[in-house]
Symmetry: C2
Subunit: 369 residues, 2 copies
């Protein structure tokens, strides 16, 4: 089968890597000539935001999917009209890629997400209380396009673009759950992971899986995933990012209609990875079992501050000596501060051992130029 992927980054690369177990042909579209997928797929250099480019790319494929949500969804809708299968479908991509539509989707389907108001120029008045979070309607990614407005003085920093203004949640834990649904309506969820963020880069730092949650919290999460899977009306794999607040209530922060950083530890930690599950969702195959064998965790490998240029990984040989520790690099030749260059997965017999190993690995590795 000819599988086309919009985006040729690391998510696409790991997806193709996993799917090499099967007999398909992979085609990727990315503006960067040295994108991580360029040498392991039939590669087209071009913009996945451009209508004509996406249309031309998709027309001879059996199925088109994405590894980034900021793509031209109108072109995907036209491909659907022309009979090309698109997973996830154009409508849900369009909904999720615009924060305003995404928030309205949660409201419509009674999925708890923080209270919000829309800032789209239709009103000059801001009713929401300080502190609040401003999320740009479009273009946010990896923590960009998001800021906290603490007080009326802060208002001068308010971006003028269309945004969602959202009540700031008093966060106890950031959680994530990856769910999949195929065309037949079969669904599977991965175990919940906890994300520990780096406050400076606003990127994920560690993922930890599984997480021990109270029955009440588990029930809330189950209710969210089942409402989401009923509402989504599209096959695909989705990452639902959650806040657990200090009063024990679970809120949806946002959803990604694709493979997600918070699922990387599934490569070695689960019976099947998010990449395998994505493949099955794309091809409408029976979904894979997501059993956890052990404790698993992930650490992002990001470019160190102050270094730009041809990448050098320090400490990798030392990491390779550690048992049950798995390096995944993304084939990027150039580093810059904060750029995601790879990740390291770790398995352990307990949460304590896991955290110890992750902290140890983090201290060993440095990405310089």
């Amino acid at each position: 089968m000819k599988i086309g992927i919009l985006g040729g980054g690391q998510l696409g690369r790991m997806f193709i890597q996993e799917a090499l177990k099967y007999d398909d042909e992979f085609y990727t579209l990315d503006p960067a000539s040295d994108a991580p997928c360029h040498n392991i797929s039939h590669f087209t250099q071009g913009s996945f935001n451009d209508y004509e480019t996406v249309l031309n790319f998709g027309q001879d494929k059996d199925v088109v999917t994405i590894e980034i949500e900021h793509v031209n969804a109108d072109a995907l809708a036209e491909l659907e009209n022309q009979g090309v299968k698109v997973v996830p479908n154009a409508k849900i991509i369009k909904t999720i890629q615009q924060k305003i539509l995404q928030k309205e989707f949660y409201k419509t389907h009674d999925i708890p997400s923080p209270e919000f108001e829309i800032m789209d120029g239709s009103s000059d008045e801001i009713k929401i209380q300080f502190p609040f979070v401003q999320k740009l309607n479009t273009g946010g990614y990896d923590g960009k396009g998001v800021q906290i407005i603490h007080s009326s003085e802060d208002l001068r920093n308010l971006w003028t673009e269309d945004s969602v203004l959202e009540k700031l949640v008093d966060i106890d834990k950031e959680l994530s759950i990856i769910v999949a649904i195929n065309e037949n309506g079969e669904t599977k969820t991965f175990p919940v992971t906890e994300m520990v963020a780096d406050p400076k880069l606003n990127l994920l730092d560690f993922n930890i899986c599984p997480v021990f949650l109270s029955e009440n919290v588990e029930n809330q999460i189950n209710s969210i995933t089942s409402k989401f899977l009923k509402a989504v009306n599209s096959p695909g794999l989705f990452a639902i990012e959650l806040f657990l607040d200090k009063e024990g209530k679970v809120w949806v922060n946002e959803t990604a209609p694709r493979l997600h950083n918070s699922g990387h530890q599934s490569q070695e930690g689960n019976a099947n990875s998010q990449f395998e599950q994505m493949y099955r969702a794309v091809k409408n195959l029976p979904l894979a079992d997501t059993d956890t064998f052990t404790f698993s965790g992930m650490l992002n490998i990001v470019g160190a501050e102050g270094f730009s240029g041809k990448v050098i990984y320090e400490g990798m040989e030392e990491v390779l000596k550690l048992p049950k520790t798995y390096i995944h690099l993304y084939g990027k030749t150039e580093t810059k501060p904060g750029r995601k260059m790879g990740h390291i997965n770790v398995l352990a017999d307990s949460r304590e051992e896991l955290m110890e190993k992750l902290v140890k690995v983090k201290a060993i590795v440095r990405v310089i130029a």
Copy 2:
């Protein structure tokens, strides 16, 4: 690093698939334009048996390795002279690819292998007792180039080419152990696997790992691997195929200087796979831990009798529904009777459960055209 691989078949494909976790460039050489590696590496169509072709292919690589042993070892020796790293080295490839040299290697290093005599035209007399096994000196592969001579009447079937004539072992079990050694001299062994052969195709049918062996048998195997690793004088990954005879004595049947079918279940059954280990041996990195988490087994998917042409896999959706069951196809478009098209790995909590699952899977799958 530029890694060149002689051969572009499934072993190379799974090696590259695994190594996509790291940042290297892979180059493959194979005579078939549609070889399994052709679309996931920089591919050169050409003969790995041809001196000039191998020399030209290898000259601009940082390291050259193999995924098949029937290659031009003289060209590899010349590459070594020119300063190209070759793993495993030309000398051990040359020794192993000729059955006569291979048997003499075992004798020299006091590694137990069945009693033999050499048939190379230097004597007309056959002294070895019936029944014996004739193994062609060169060109044997996947059970080809091997026959049993039962009696003097059978002698008319004796091939005339240079051969080893070997005492027929009264086999209780066929075992295999995969070992690795890097340039630094670090060594690691995988757990022993048992191979259950299909008497008709003479290909592996099931692999089972781990195997319960008496302490005496384990000691014999440890002695063999440690002698082998001392004698081999080359970095690389090697599969040592063993016979356990009915009297409890272990014999080396033969050695492959490469990735091996008997190690495929390591993809999901071990902390790291043979493919990861091979990568580390090739790059002289710390070798990977080979812990077993569970019982694992493998079933070859081979072309059914009576079908040649564009491949159709029957039963695959049913297999995908089974938990802890992993399909690996090799990207071959054409099937023919007995052709290895893929394999299926299975994990289980006991040997009994494993056998049950393997037998079940075998009954579901059929490769037709």
